[in-house]
């Protein structure tokens, strides 16, 4: 069982590596965020797979990661909004200026 779970974990890590390629290539910041999102899901999956091997306390780590993954996602979206505090769902009237070129997106 340990060998099988480790094998699956290696496989999930490999798919995480593929996701990292998307983070590297972009081209848009949305692509990078998606890559990071898949990396987060894969990381949680690896921790789940390790739990029967390393002890079920690994699930506490997975739980923490899932919470902070959500926080990081909100952080991403905020960081790329025009004024650092916005929400992509807001209408463009008045509040949000067109996002500045360069810096945040660099594809």
């Amino acid at each position: 069982m340990t060998a099988w779970l480790s094998f699956v974990a290696v496989g999930v890590l490999a798919s995480l590596g593929a996701a990292l390629l998307r983070v590297w290539r972009g081209p848009g910041r949305a692509d990078r965020m998606m890559g990071a999102q898949l990396a987060g899901t894969s990381g949680v999956a690896v921790l789940m797979l390790l739990a029967p091997v390393e002890g079920w306390a690994a699930l506490d780590v997975a739980l923490t990661l899932s919470l902070f993954g959500a926080l990081a996602a909100v952080g991403f979206v905020k960081a790329v909004s025009a004024d650092g505090g916005g929400d992509p769902e807001e209408d463009d009237e008045g509040i949000v200026e067109p996002p500045p070129a360069g810096g945040a997106s660099d594809g």
Binding site: T2, A3, S6, F7, A9, V10, L13, A14, L16, G17, L20, V23, W24, R32, G35, A36, A39, G40, G43, V46, L47, L50, E54, G55, A57, A58, D60, V61, L63, T64, L65, L67, F68, A70, L71, A72, V74, G75, F76, V77, K78, A79, V80, S81, A82, D83, G84, G85, G86, D87, E89, E90, D91, I95, P100, G102, G103, A104, S105, D106
Partner: protein, 310 residues
């Protein structure tokens, strides 16, 4: 197969670190850094250090990542986000760094088999008042380190607040956050905090016997506050908010008071007498977790900034 797992994990960690350093664009570097923290916390589980894995997941990957992301947002606001021209190719620097890595690698193989304090530690553990050995070290054996560490957080926050502009001093902390009322972000901000609060309290509570504790739990609570603030559900306080300031110091203060009480009662500075050690540690952990939560959240939000009176 487990070796293949370790090798894949280590390979990914090194690759992600390289991508963080070598890739163009600050945003890309920070995305890679967050993935790096995530992989590192998996590595800590593999090294049998679940307490560290929790701290890395919460602090290393989570809060530090959000801190950097928020910085990108703030730099965009200053108009100074453009990346400076990358430096010249640094062949000598690269060689020096390879040398440093080589020296550390050599040192690993040159290390003697250590006489570890493991046995002394194991002998002392039954008198520590808690079963989780890491918590015993943090809150009892090396309590002085931990007390100073909670003060380091405070020092960083005072220093950070001083970076506000004088004219912004009386404003609310951080950038103003706004979302579409009833939008996805807002409903997310309503759904997550109740779960997060439970998880945070759970981590503090189990810290005595299992991996977890004040720092990990406090960080989760800080994250809850941050989500609520980013989703525009709560407004950040001002530096003059004295209730908040009291919350920042209550943890170190309780810790310090426990230490002084030990000295005054003749037991010695920071000595927790064995019969009450477990209870004292729990009390200190609760106070510390509250202060850590408030201080960490403020550290990520940043100094007061104009713009809240939009």
């Amino acid at each position: 197969m487990t070796l293949a797992l370790d090798a894949t994990l280590c390979g990914l960690i090194v690759a992600v670190a390289l991508a963080t350093v070598l890739g163009r664009g600050v945003f890309r570097a920070i995305v890679f850094f967050i993935v790096y923290g995530l992989l590192l916390s998996v590595a800590w589980v593999r090294l049998g250090a679940v307490d560290v894995a929790l701290a890395e997941a919460a602090i290393g990957a989570g809060l530090t990542g959000v801190l950097f992301l928020a910085a990108v947002g703030k730099l965009a606001r200053t108009g100074a986000e453009a990346e400076p021209a990358p430096g010249r190719p640094h062949l000598p620097a690269a060689l020096a760094c390879a040398g440093l890595t080589g020296a550390l690698a050599w040192a690993w193989f040159a290390l003697p088999e250590p006489e570890r304090p493991g046995s002394d530690l194991a002998a002392a553990l039954p008198r520590a008042g808690v079963e989780n050995p890491v918590t015993a070290v943090l809150l009892n054996f090396r309590a002085w380190d931990t007390l100073l560490e909670s003060i380091v957080l405070l020092a960083a926050l005072v220093g950070l607040w001083l970076l506000a502009r004088d004219e912004d001093w009386h404003d609310r902390l951080g950038l103003p956050q706004h979302v579409r009322p009833g939008g996805v972000m807002e409903s997310f901000g309503r759904l997550l905090p109740p779960v997060g609060v439970l998880v945070g309290i759970y981590l503090v509570y189990i810290g005595a016997d299992r991996p977890g504790g004040a720092f990990q739990g406090g960080t989760v609570l800080a994250a809850v506050g941050l989500v609520a603030a980013l989703a525009g559900l709560i407004r950040t306080p001002r530096v003059t908010g004295h209730l908040w300031r009291a919350a920042m110091v209550v943890g170190p203060l309780v810790f310090l008071a426990a230490g002084v009480a030990g000295a005054a009662l003749g037991a010695g500075f920071l000595t927790l007498p064995e019969p009450i050690a477990g209870g004292a540690i729990f009390a200190i952990e609760i106070a510390l977790a509250s202060s850590i939560a408030v201080t960490l959240a403020f550290l990520v939000i940043g100094p007061p900034e104009r713009g809240h009176r939009r």
